[in-house]
């Protein structure tokens, strides 16, 4: 009799255990979401992001080539649009600045600020060849990448005209755009299967990867990427010019594109959180939602508040730091609140709940 009772309890416990298994809170469904979120980070966010980057870098290169052949202001405008459009993608890709982009320094190679005006002027005034190999060989990154292109397309005061672009500048900007294109192609390839296949390190997280021995390590790397860009915008890119009220420190000043850059950085981080780039996928948000809806709501709300707060800045950032200080402060406060939540609550969530 006693053993039957025991057996009954044992069976009941098993049943209860199997019921709980179906529940995402502790069971295998949560593990499935983990698996899917890592896979989607690689296949829906990271690689498609870099794929779009290389496509848009190619479009910019074509637009600049067209401008060189037919130097009209309409073609100059088209090149400017292509530059801005490429920036949208790049700034969003900065939502995950880890892996080859960091290890192989694609970021400083293409997005160094400030531009070295003196060396740029000396270079253009010299007889130094300006082919793409010559550009790649330059030992100063402040002469390469997005911002020198921006400088040539817009001019120092933002008043460039197609007729005002010299032959040397044309050669230079063409090679710069080719360099940018080749960097984007290499970056894409570094993640893609058949290339460096960095994505596989993440896909192997918790399954033999030395870089990510546990799945938790992959999610923490993803979190650090999101957090780093939110902090960089709020505490660096915005705060420093704001505190010093020095428009010279603002990035992308020739095009007046800074606020757009900032907003796209944060959108990029939100994309990472939601496991999307263009297509929707499964992100960290679904893991959080499975166990703590309130936290997911809080994170998404703080992301949205931060992203929407940029709308209140109506002037280019280099002017806004002087004349729209309250609006700038509001954005920085929203970013600080977002960073704080990611750094404490989301980090604690990952550490407590992702244990494999």
């Amino acid at each position: 009799m006693k053993s039957y009772t025991l057996l009954f309890f044992f069976g009941a416990a098993l049943l209860a255990g199997s019921c709980r298994k179906a529940d995402v809170n502790t069971g295998s469904d949560f593990a499935k979401i983990e698996e899917q979120a890592i896979s989607d980070f690689v296949h829906v966010v990271a690689i498609p992001g870099y794929d779009e980057l290389k496509t848009k870098a190619s479009i910019l290169n074509t637009a600049i080539s067209t401008l060189n052949i037919i130097p009209t202001d309409a073609n100059l405008d088209a090149a400017k649009i292509a530059w801005r459009d490429l920036r949208v993608t790049w700034e969003r890709c900065e939502g995950y600045l880890f892996g080859p982009v960091e290890d192989d320094e694609y970021d400083p190679e293409t997005d160094t600020w400030p531009v070295s005006f003196n060396d740029l002027d000396s270079l253009l005034a010299s007889s130094n060849p300006l082919g793409v190999d010559d550009i790649e060989a330059l030992n100063q990154r402040s002469l390469k990448g997005y911002h020198p292109i921006e400088y040539v397309l817009w001019g120092k005061e933002g008043l460039q005209t197609a007729a005002g672009i010299t032959d040397r500048q044309k050669q230079y900007v063409t090679s710069l755009s080719l360099h940018l294109k080749s960097q984007a192609e290499k970056l894409y390839s570094s993640w893609a299967p058949g290339g460096g296949n960095y994505g596989q390190h993440l896909l192997n997280a918790g399954k033999g990867s030395t870089l990510y021995p546990m799945k938790k390590d992959a999610f923490l790397a993803i979190l650090e990427g999101m957090l780093a860009i939110c902090e960089e915008v709020g505490e660096g890119k915005m705060k420093e010019p704001f505190d010093t009220q020095d428009p010279n420190i603002v990035e992308s000043p020739f095009s007046g594109n800074s606020v757009s850059d900032f907003r796209n950085n944060i959108t990029g981080a939100l994309n990472v959180y939601k496991g999307k780039f263009n297509d929707d996928g499964v992100g960290l948000n679904e893991l959080v939602r499975a166990k703590n809806i309130a936290l997911d709501n809080e994170i998404q709300q703080k992301f949205n508040t931060a992203i929407n707060s940029f709308n209140s800045i109506t002037k280019p950032f280099e002017q806004a730091i002087i004349s729209e200080r309250i609006q700038c402060q509001t954005v920085m406060d929203a970013l600080e609140a977002l960073s704080e939540t990611l750094d404490t609550k989301l980090r604690a969530f990952i550490q407590q709940n992702i244990t494999d």
Partner: protein
């Protein structure tokens, strides 16, 4: 009578105090401490690529602000003067920003002259200067600047080649040690025949506030210059002249402990690595040379920026250890002790009291260094003395964070010039005072060697 009573009362009152003093003198058992806290209170729990870049906990809001200003400062890309911002690069330099060499606040790549290079070469000729330091090379100074702003000739280019030397363990497993050769190409003026060169790769930034807080007496207590205990390990402190404080002090920073303070280390890097003048080193690195520009703009960074950069580096936390309960890691730690690696790589040190910076003050830390100079044998010798360090001696590098180099750097490199690509290679390069420990490592079973490496990776 009354007096006697007071004596008694005093004696009774003192008794607990005496007991308390006794208790104070005894230490907690090792197991009472959390082994993950490599930096004591100044430890941070992050094992991602950003692990070296966190501020120590508990800074005041003012100190946090200064730390953040310093964080921004070390990321700044300098450009040719005159410029509206970040003016003052070069005219000759090694790289354009602190983080170009110190990747993710850590180490970098053992290449020279490229945009992502982290290796430089110190120069001197035989003899010593008025303060016992190395003797500068006429027209070159004490450090080679192998890059220049557009249109200016660098001092020379550095060429690095490697020869692979295969190594076989007694159990048949193999490794390969790459032996570097450094040559200078296209010097802007003839180099002396008796030139001495020392390659140095950028070391990590973090934990240096704690290192600066270690009492000099603690470091000296590790020293055994004449090997009185006969364990084959001597160890001596470097004493170096600090040009800012204008006095001779114990050396703590730099790969030969040739710098006394973080301030001088940072200011020297601005000046020599980037060509950026500052209040500690107000003269251009090209002073007296043909590359010198004519700008009257020194110092090229504000005093407050140099101070903020110094504070940033002083307040970077140490990453916590991982996998400390793993049995293989624990076995590896045991082997590390048994081979007497701890003879130089001291596991535990107590920092001194620093009232200005609580988080580095009086901390029980695990840097795995004694900060002393040791003869490391011919294989690693640079042949270039640096104050009291001779041509075979190097400072024991701290090992904390060494297991994260793969994360922070993509590809990890070890030793003073990044010649070692794995921790195993790094150990096999040890010689001189570390020869015995290395031989012990070689004789280990493959399982035990792997356990030792796994322990190092937990740091």
């Amino acid at each position: 009578m009354r007096i006697r009573k007071i004596y008694w009362i005093t004696a009774i009152l003192l008794l607990p105090a005496v007991f308390m003093m006794c208790r104070k003198a005894s230490e907690f058992d090792e197991s009472q401490y959390d082994p993950r806290l490599s930096g004591g209170e100044a430890t941070v729990f992050d094992e991602t690529s950003k692990a070296f870049g966190h501020q120590v906990p508990g800074l005041s809001s003012h100190d946090e602000h200064v730390h953040e200003v310093g964080d921004g400062a070390v990321e700044k890309t300098f450009v040719t003067a005159p410029a509206p911002i970040n003016s003052g690069l070069g005219p000759i330099f090694s790289n354009v920003s602190c983080i170009s060499c110190h990747h993710n606040d850590g180490k970098g790549n053992p290449t020279a002259g490229l945009v992502n290079s982290s290796l430089l070469i110190r120069l001197s000729v035989p003899g010593s200067d008025a303060h016992g330091g190395p003797l500068a090379v006429d027209g070159y100074g004490l450090q080679l600047q192998d890059v220049a702003v557009f249109g200016v000739q660098p001092e020379a280019k550095i060429n690095i080649t490697y020869t692979e030397n295969p190594f076989t363990f007694p159990d048949g497993e193999t490794a390969s040690l790459r032996n570097p050769t450094y040559t200078l190409l296209n010097p802007y003026k003839p180099l002396p025949g008796n030139l001495m060169m020392s390659p140095r790769m950028a070391p990590p930034f973090f934990g240096l506030g704690l290192i600066q807080s270690i009492p000099e007496s603690t470091i000296l207590a590790f020293a055994d210059e004449n090997d009185a205990d006969g364990d084959g390990i001597s160890g001596k402190a470097n004493y170096v002249y600090d040009p800012y404080l204008q006095k001779t002090m114990i050396g703590r920073f730099g790969l030969k402990a040739n710098t006394a303070t973080i301030l001088t280390q940072v200011a020297g890097a601005y000046n020599q690595d980037m060509g950026v003048t500052n209040y500690v080193f107000p003269k251009e690195s090209s002073f007296g040379q043909s590359q010198l520009d004519s700008h009257v703009d020194d110092p090229e960074i504000a005093d407050s920026i140099l101070n903020a950069a110094e504070f940033y580096i002083r307040t970077l936390a140490v990453p916590a250890r991982r996998n400390v309960t793993d049995l293989t890691v624990q076995s590896g730690e045991n082997i590390f002790r048994q081979l007497n690696c701890v003879g130089c790589h001291k596991p535990t040190i107590q920092t001194g009291v620093d009232l200005s910076l609580k988080c580095v003050s009086n901390q029980r830390i695990h840097p795995y260094t004694d900060l002393l100079l040791h003869d490391m044998g011919d294989g690693l010798a640079d042949g270039r003395p640096d104050f009291k360090a001779d041509g075979k001696e190097w400072k024991t590098p701290a090992l904390w964070g060494i297991g994260l180099f793969e994360k922070t750097n993509g590809v990890p490199y070890y030793l003073h010039d990044g010649r070692a690509r794995t921790l195993e290679e790094a150990i096999l390069w040890h010689g001189g005072e570390a020869e015995k420990a290395k031989q012990g490592f070689i004789q280990l079973s493959s399982t035990d060697r792997k356990a030792l490496i796994k322990f190092l990776k937990s740091l």
